[in-house]
């Protein structure tokens, strides 16, 4: 598989989770593991362009796949990192709106929100389609636990970067 555009080749046991492979063998420390059974969303990565909970996928299942973690956020957003701190638009919005405190849930949230936004930008480009309503953002956030922010600031950050 490739991880953030770097080819990785390994022999692993069948029970080895994609989340553990990414952290331990691919050097992708941005993949955060919290609950380990698909509840919290912290380990969300893109596998062939689709958001996946890496703790619910076996590493062997990603054989040959193109995996992107938060390190590929700029590519996932389709927008360059810019400014003095080199933040992507989504990262800048999260900072601007104080959408994180401890930051543990943030990498997974950024990855799946970048994919959520690209889906909805494509839909919004069609005539007559409004940008996603608040309900769609709340549905999207159902997949992520954040114990710090109470979500209001995350919602504000996402709304601020939608077209």
């Amino acid at each position: 598989m490739t991880v953030d555009d770097v080819p990785r080749r390994a022999r692993v046991r069948a029970r080895y989770l994609l989340s553990d492979f990414l952290r331990e063998q691919a050097g992708a420390g941005g993949v955060h593991v919290a609950c380990g059974h698909g509840v919290c969303g912290a380990c969300t990565v893109a596998v062939d362009g689709i958001a996946v909970r890496a703790c619910l996928m076996l590493a062997v299942q990603a054989d040959g796949a193109h995996v992107q973690t938060v390190a590929s956020l700029s590519a996932l957003e389709g927008a360059p990192a810019s400014g003095r701190d080199g933040l992507t638009p989504l990262q800048a919005a999260f900072r601007e709106h104080h959408a994180l405190q401890c930051g543990y849930c943030t990498p997974g949230l950024l990855v799946s929100t970048a994919l959520f936004m690209s889906q909805h930008k494509a839909a919004a480009a069609l005539p007559g389609n409004p940008s996603p309503r608040r309900a769609a953002i709340l549905d999207h956030l159902n997949g992520h636990l954040c114990r710090c922010t109470g979500y209001a600031n995350i919602i504000a950050a996402i709304e601020s970067v939608l077209p």
């Binding site: 069948a14 029970r15 553990d20 609950c35 619910l56 062997v60 799946s112 549905d139 159902n142 997949g143």
Partner: protein
Amino acid sequence: MKPAAFAYARPASVTDAARLLAQHGAAARLLAGGQSLMPLMARRLVCPELVIDINRIAGLDAIEVLASHIRMGALVRQEQALRSSVVRECVAGLAEALAWVGNPVVRQRGTVIGNLVANTPGSELPAVAIALGAEFVVRHPDAEVTVPAAALLGVANLFGAGKGLPPEAMVTHVLWPRRPGAAGFYEVARRDGHAPVVSALVTMSNDECRVAVSGVCATGLSCPSMARIIARDFPQPPSASALAGALQDDLTGPVYGDAHSSARYRLDVAPLVSRRAAGLMALRAVA
């Protein structure tokens, strides 16, 4: 939160998967989207000796329009079905129910059939499949048969471990009768995106009303008595007390309760949830 050790197979065809299942039976588990099986394996509530990963079997991800049915393969993801225009046009209520399952990330990976055969108590889709008259195409080692969803899902089971589905059998497709119309769905859950306490789907197509309720009995319910009352009063939703009386006739077993929601609460809230779903259906039917 790590699965116990297991052997892994990645068959390229249904025939190969069925042969592995026939050899290993209850020691093997089929892995599709993994959104139900993997958490159970992580918690070691399920420890298969062999995991048969069907994700690379070609053709199982298709949604096909047949003369009287919509046919979905075992790799059709919930989000794929939810966004499918033929599903919206041909099967009233299915997309409405799917929108309440899990969250977008889980739905992009989790499969429709995986959710159905997991048959978790309270889960939305098994009740919907029973009430809409869905059928499963089941591959046994020596034969392929089509069985009503109610025959498999009316039995409380988990991944075929119960008597609903023998361990060596594989559900390859689900068939949804083509029944266009209006639908309303509503549920009460402890948290959005989690398994509901009680959910209800009400559909109306050509004056035929169908009602699916989850979370009252251990398996999903089709509720013809409630449906009769909703059709009688349409487009007004019937009173909750009338629905509560009808629900008594639709129960298939004891009302169950758990630490979070007692049986009494479930019986109280089910008519209210059904009434809300009937109102949503009527809004769309007259729009």
